[in-house]
């Protein structure tokens, strides 16, 4: 049993252990859940220190045939693409658990679900076999369905049902695509990512395009790509804040991660679909940005801004060149940190005031200075200010997109679309800052008047909350100032993928 298996099964063991703890012992439950999340994070840190960033191949491989007749196997591995995602997944799960101290109804079930969700997410990023990948992809749905439907807001049932139906609908297309490719895999008959890769080459061009379309629909629902995002605003708004952190921080990245793997598998088809994908990415950026600008609900605003930011990822993937894909991978990490921090902070604010309408707030800096600091930094990072990790990612994507479209003579179009969506992003970020934090202290909306003498009372961030927000914001600023380690982590893998793509296209 290798390190990856230990990592993968740690949350599952934690969930099993929790299941045997009596539900009334809330402190013990929280302690165990946090402990296992911390263990998983430490394991990933250990993995990170042993990971060789110069080696583009899969590392720490594990292989165990599951079903020899079908060719599916329990194959795990880590490369430069999945390594940052693993760190992000375990980190954000730990942060989400830190932010979950206010969950008071059926605490046990909640923590079991979160740990199972972590199990599923780790599985998706670790699996090197498409069958295993698909299983874990579906595994994440079950705990999420319960988390949204059980602990969510007013319209939680609609939200969870909508989410599951959308994702299931998408994954059907993904399954069809996978089956279609595996038909051509005559030699091995397996579903290993590496062997499927070979199989995809033998397919006719037209079928490749169809198969890639299936993948785009399947992963695009999760990512989300523009017309397939209907589940996202509702699910994000209704989900409890810690779940929103995981949802936007990691689950959206599963879609992007899968799409990168699929594009590397089918580069010729990707080349044919490239203009459409770039257009979808750019349009999604504008669409999400404009709708985010319209929202007065803070969570809905962040949800739509996620669509806008994941548009950048799609654009980066669709450029099919090294710098663009680097940008996409960076943006995945950046958006994980930024959206995670935003949902965390908004959730903490909501717990205190029970309103998400931005117009109910003003002048928070006077009562919550620490909250103001973190929220402002995160919003500035969300608009891609230099010095934050968002800027590094957006710059790479922009350069990649420009050079990809320059060959078509439309580099300027990319620039214009991109700049306009940046501008809109800045508009809603700055407006949020000014509405939340500035302005005169009084007169105040009634909801704040909770103090004994009717004065303005709101508690600033407490220590565990401070820790969670501080780590995320520190990551955002640190990787913005010194991006080299983040770039180096995945550069070898990306350049190898780029070689594969450019060989096949030419």
């Amino acid at each position: 049993m290798g390190i990856l298996s230990i990592l993968l099964w740690t949350p599952a063991v934690g969930a099993l252990l929790l299941a045997s703890v009596p539900g009334k012992n809330i402190r013990l439950i929280r302690y165990i859940a946090n402990l296992f999340a911390a263990i998983a994070f430490l394991l990933v840190c250990w993995l990170l220190s042993n990971y060789n960033a110069h080696d583009a191949e899969l590392q720490f491989n594990e292989y165990f045939p599951l079903n020899p007749r079908l060719g599916s196997a329990y194959a795990l591995g880590v490369d430069g693409l999945s390594m940052p995602m693993l760190v992000l997944a375990t980190l954000l799960t730990a942060m989400a658990l830190l932010a979950s101290f206010t969950v008071s109804s059926s605490v046990k079930g909640y923590h079991v679900c979160i740990l199972l969700l972590e199990f599923g997410m780790l599985g998706v990023f670790l699996a090197q076999d498409w069958a295993l990948f698909y299983i874990f992809w579906e595994v994440t749905l079950i705990p999420l369905f319960f988390l949204i439907g059980r602990w969510g807001g007013k319209r939680r049932h609609t939200a969870s049902l909508n989410f599951v139906l959308y994702t299931m609908g998408g994954s059907v297309f993904m399954l069809i695509s996978l089956l279609a490719i595996s038909q051509y895999d005559l030699e091995h008959g397996g579903s290993l990512m590496s062997s499927m890769h070979q199989a995809a080459q033998d397919m006719p061009r037209f079928e490749q395009v169809l198969v890639l379309l299936g993948f785009v629909i399947g992963f695009g629902v999760k990512m989300p790509i523009f017309p397939l995002h209907g589940w996202l605003p509702l699910a994000h708004v209704e989900a409890p804040s810690p779940v929103s952190i995981l949802l936007s921080g990691i689950l959206l990245k599963m879609g992007a991660y899968g799409l990168i793997r699929a594009v590397v598998m089918l580069p010729e088809a990707a080349k044919l679909l490239q203009p459409y994908l770039i257009f979808l990415g750019l349009f999604g950026m504008l669409y999400g940005g404009l709708l985010a600008w319209r929202q007065s609900d803070l969570k809905a605003m962040i949800a739509y801004s996620s669509i806008s930011h994941m548009g950048i990822v799609l654009l980066g993937i669709a450029t099919l060149n090294e710098i663009g894909i680097t940008g996409a991978v960076l943006q995945m990490s950046a958006h994980g940190l930024i959206a995670g921090a935003l949902f965390l902070l908004v959730g903490l604010l909501y717990e205190r005031t029970h309103t998400r309408n931005i117009q109910d707030y003003r002048s928070l800096i006077q009562v919550m200075p620490r909250f103001t600091l973190f929220m402002t930094l995160t919003l500035l990072a969300a608009m891609g200010l230099p010095g934050s990790v968002g800027f590094i990612a957006e710059l790479h994507t922009l350069i990649g997109g420009f050079s990809a479209f320059a060959s078509l003579g439309l580099g300027l179009v990319v620039m214009v679309f991109f700049s306009v969506s940046m501008l809109i992003g800045a508009a809603y970020a700055i407006r949020t800052i000014s509405l939340l934090f500035t302005g005169p202290k009084s007169p105040l909306p009634p909801l704040f008047q909770k103090g004994a003498r009717g004065d303005f009372q709101l508690e600033d961030l407490k220590t565990p909350e401070l820790l969670a927000a501080g780590i995320l914001v520190a990551g955002i600023v640190l990787f913005g100032l010194v991006p080299a380690p983040l770039l180096a982590l995945s550069s070898a893998t990306i350049s190898q993928m780029n070689t594969v793509i450019s060989q096949r296209i030419l």
Partner: protein
Amino acid sequence: MDALVILIPLMPLVAAMVIGLGHLFGAIDGEAGESLSADIASWAISMSCLLSLALLGADFLGKNAGSYMIGHWLNSDTLDIPFSFITSGFNVHLAALFSVLLAIIIRFSINYMHREAGYHRFFFILSLFSSAMLLLVLSGNVVLTFVGWEVAGLCSYFLIAYAYDRPVAVLNATRVFVTNRIGDAGLMLGAGFSFAWVGSVNWNTINAAAAQLTSGEATSLALCFAVAAFAKSAQLPFTPWLARAMEGPTPSSAVFYGAVMVHAGVFLVILLRPIFEQAPLAMALVALVGLLTAVYSFVIGLTQTDVKSSLIFATSGQLGLMYLECGLGFWQLAGWHLCAHAAVRSYQFLTAPSLMHNERCLNSEFPTRNIPAWLYVASLQRFWLDPIVDWALVKPVRGLAHDLSYFDDHVIDCMMGAPAPAIRAISSLAQLEEQRIGAQLDNDSDQFAQGSGLAGKITQWMAAILHWFEERFVLRGIGKDAINYGRDLGHIANKFEQAVLRPRYLVLFVLITLLVAF
């Protein structure tokens, strides 16, 4: 021993961070936290004082390599900016001197600032300032020096505007900062030129390449750095900022820029000695400006009636003499002059508040009787330097800004839209009541997402269209309608099922099956 050099600016920086974060998170607060905050600041500066003395000792024993590099900060094509430090010679002497002075000043401030509002802020800025000064004198390249240079300027802004609720203090602080920015521009330009002509931003490389530069290049480079130095050291025509800087509430903060930071300019000129020696024109300019400033400060100093002002004009006069020495080629003398002056002036500043106390019988005899009346008036008015600058620079800029603002209001804002006011001021009692009962009648999202101007309106309409699309098709269309259709379909299927299960159809089916079977 070279590696010690990293810690010297790092210690006060860490202290500043600890104080700042501690204060932000409420760990260091109020009078109870005063000793903690003071301890952190004074321990850190004492440590870097000891370290820089150790470095100085090692330098005297000849154990230093002369430079030390940790790693690269920025590396792009031919531009390479390392984290490098100079660990020998004048830089180390000055670092040792400055750190001793800074330690003394911080120690002095602990008692002086007791129970002042903003105690922790003061020590935060003081530590940051110490770090910036030490980085400035020790850094091995222009960029890191610029970092120290800027942070020191920023800290002096904070210190001058320490009582930020007083408009005069803020006005003076802004004026000082803006004046200093002229010098910063010179330093930036110098860094750019040295990268363009020498291909490096390291001080040692620039100095070594001085001989290869053409005289034009050397002169331009020297002039850029000279402007930076003049601004920082309050030489003509920048001298008035120094008097304004005395707005800083405490002598200890006055020392920081009055006796330590102002020397940074002279330090820069001495550091770039090879470049200046290649540029006779720049040397002459330096000497001339120094001479003029010395005379100017002397004359003005004659009529000053308060301790801080007379000290400050004495300072600028002495700095003028240092520039004169540099310009005439007495580099060694200028260096010694700098060190001696820094020490003496710090002492004078620190004792300034108790001067009245100690010398009860101040004689009111002013040595101003023998000078001609016009000079006396000019001296009182400080040669009208501030009004001249206002007239020559501030007024035209203000006029231009006014015109641009007109253009902005009438053209740009119509096109691009004005930013919405963040504060929706409550103008009527009805609105106040509405807010109070939480009705917020004008609160739907259409009201919320408003743009102004052409671009704003376009954005608004685009957003409205997309919103309609999203609502109608994406959310309602797929989310609700699909579910409804599904439900309808289910009803129909149910009905069909029920119909099929009626006995007459059942019998019919059985019959048909039998018929087919046989």
